[in-house]
């Protein structure tokens, strides 16, 4: 079966194609073109109609909103995200470690979310920050949490008439932050495991604590009930609460392959972050 391929020149046109023929948006191509390749000299064959999104300039670019949130167009590349100061550290860092330079020049945030690979780099920090995804169809627009959008490995809540048009990252304050990606090698690497964590302290009281794990299960793992255990507490309470938090986070992740290493490393990294924070040192990113 040969399916039609479209190159819409406006979002309106794209939304119409999406509604009428359910054309699959092809953004940077770094996932779809690989998944459906057929070898040298042979045109990739997709089991569905495809629309090449590259002309839709209205879906490109990063905007800082008045409320401090950041709106990133779905077709913004990882390279653009990595080099934009307005984007929160966790997302910028993850974008800067995605694949290699050439990949980052092609791969888009919309594509990374739409593909919903458990090894995807961007969902993990986006879910940490309660980012939302803007889904547009010809008749409506809705905005849902990335955590709700990604339902599992390669599964999303995208309706067959919807397009991801933007990702909104709220302004999340933090006193201490931590981000680690362990890849298959030092660069040009697929994630084997990642972890983000942040703690916000105001007047000596922990107001916010978040931790999310990537590549440690079918989707990004975050447990708000576990995070709540630290909220309202003081830094000096951390040592007493730490073991329980580590145990609960361990139950939150569900790695299958490399399970021992993924569990132990996750535990050690989170332990390290909490222990460093408990020391109450200088604010910022813990290395």
């Amino acid at each position: 079966m040969v399916n039609e391929t479209y190159i819409p020149s406006t979002l309106e046109e794209a939304l119409k194609l999406r509604a009428e023929v359910h054309a699959m948006p092809l953004a940077g191509g770094s996932d779809l073109m690989v998944q459906y390749r057929r070898g040298t000299g042979v045109v990739p064959e997709f089991p569905f109609p495809v629309m090449i999104m590259s002309s839709l300039n209205e879906l490109k670019g990063i905007k800082k909103e008045e409320d401090g949130s950041v709106l990133i167009g779905a077709l913004t590349t990882s390279a653009e995200i990595a080099s934009c100061e307005d984007v929160p550290f966790f997302v910028r860092k993850a974008a800067s470690l995605m694949g290699a330079i050439s990949l980052r020049n092609s791969a888009t945030i919309g594509g990374n979310l739409g593909n919903a690979s458990p090894k995807g780099d961007l969902p993990q920090p986006l879910i940490l920050l309660d980012a939302t995804v803007v889904l547009q169809s010809i008749n409506s627009t809705r905005e849902i949490l990335v955590d709700e959008f990604i339902k599992g490995s390669k599964k999303t809540a995208l309706a067959d008439d919807e397009i991801i048009t933007a990702i909104r990252i709220p302004n999340v304050k933090y006193t201490y932050g931590y981000y680690r990606k362990i890849g298959t090698r030092k660069a040009n690497a697929i994630s084997k495991l990642s972890l983000s964590a942040l703690i916000y302290v105001e007047d000596g009281i922990i107001k916010d604590f978040r931790v999310s794990s990537g590549a440690a299960g079918p989707k990004v793992a975050r447990n708000k009930a576990n995070e709540a255990k630290l909220i309202g507490k003081k830094l000096e309470d951390i040592p007493a609460l730490k073991e329980d938090i580590l145990n609960t986070h361990d139950q939150t992740i569900s790695p299958r392959a490399m399970a021992t290493w993924r569990r132990n490393s996750t535990r050690r990294m989170l332990d390290y972050f909490l222990s460093e924070v408990a020391k109450g040192g200088d604010e910022g990113i813990i290395q």
């Binding site: 391929t5 190159i7 073109m33 390749r37 000299g41 990739p44 290699a100 050439s102 040009n188």
Partner: protein, 157 residues
């Protein structure tokens, strides 16, 4: 479907065919220039690197339909420019070339780096070519050769 028009190595070209065809295949088969190599077919090795509007991309994962209106530069479009000549000469002089299969892509990566950073450090260079896999050299002489180009080509970038 209308023709896909873009610039290839400075010349306007038009492609009349399936827009999902890989840019790499279009360059090699339809336009018959073979300096751009296929190493992996999944955007991992960098052998098929070209510049798309001045940015380094792997042409094996880009459908030709995504380059309408873009400017594509391959090794054939770079090698006779002053910058290209300097890079080729430096790669030869610095011993960067062994089997050579990764080298056209590596030269494109070096060009993309020097365009933005004419005086890179060793670390800058290692980062800039980290998407270009070489199995022969261990990279040291490639890094040295790019450093050499940035010195020899002072003022070119």
């Amino acid at each position: 479907m209308s023709m896909i028009e873009f610039k290839l190595n400075g010349k306007p070209v038009a492609f009349d065919g399936n827009p999902l065809k890989r840019l790499l295949d279009v360059i090699r088969d339809d336009f018959g220039i073979t300096g751009t190599k296929e190493g992996c077919g999944e955007g991992e090795c960098g052998a098929c690197s070209v510049l798309k509007d001045g940015k380094l991309v792997t042409s094996c994962i880009i459908p030709v339909g995504a380059v309408g209106g873009c400017e594509i530069i391959t090794i054939e479009g770079l090698r006779d420019t002053p910058q290209g000549k300097c890079l080729v000469e430096s790669f030869a002089e610095g011993g960067a070339v062994q089997c050579g299969f990764c080298i056209p892509g590596m030269v494109m990566a070096a060009e993309a780096l020097l365009m933005n950073n004419p005086h890179p450090t060793e670390a800058d260079i290692r980062l800039a070519i980290s998407g270009n896999i070489c199995r022969c050299t261990g990279y040291d002489l490639i890094v040295e050769s790019i450093l050499l180009a940035s010195k020899k080509g002072e003022g070119l970038w």
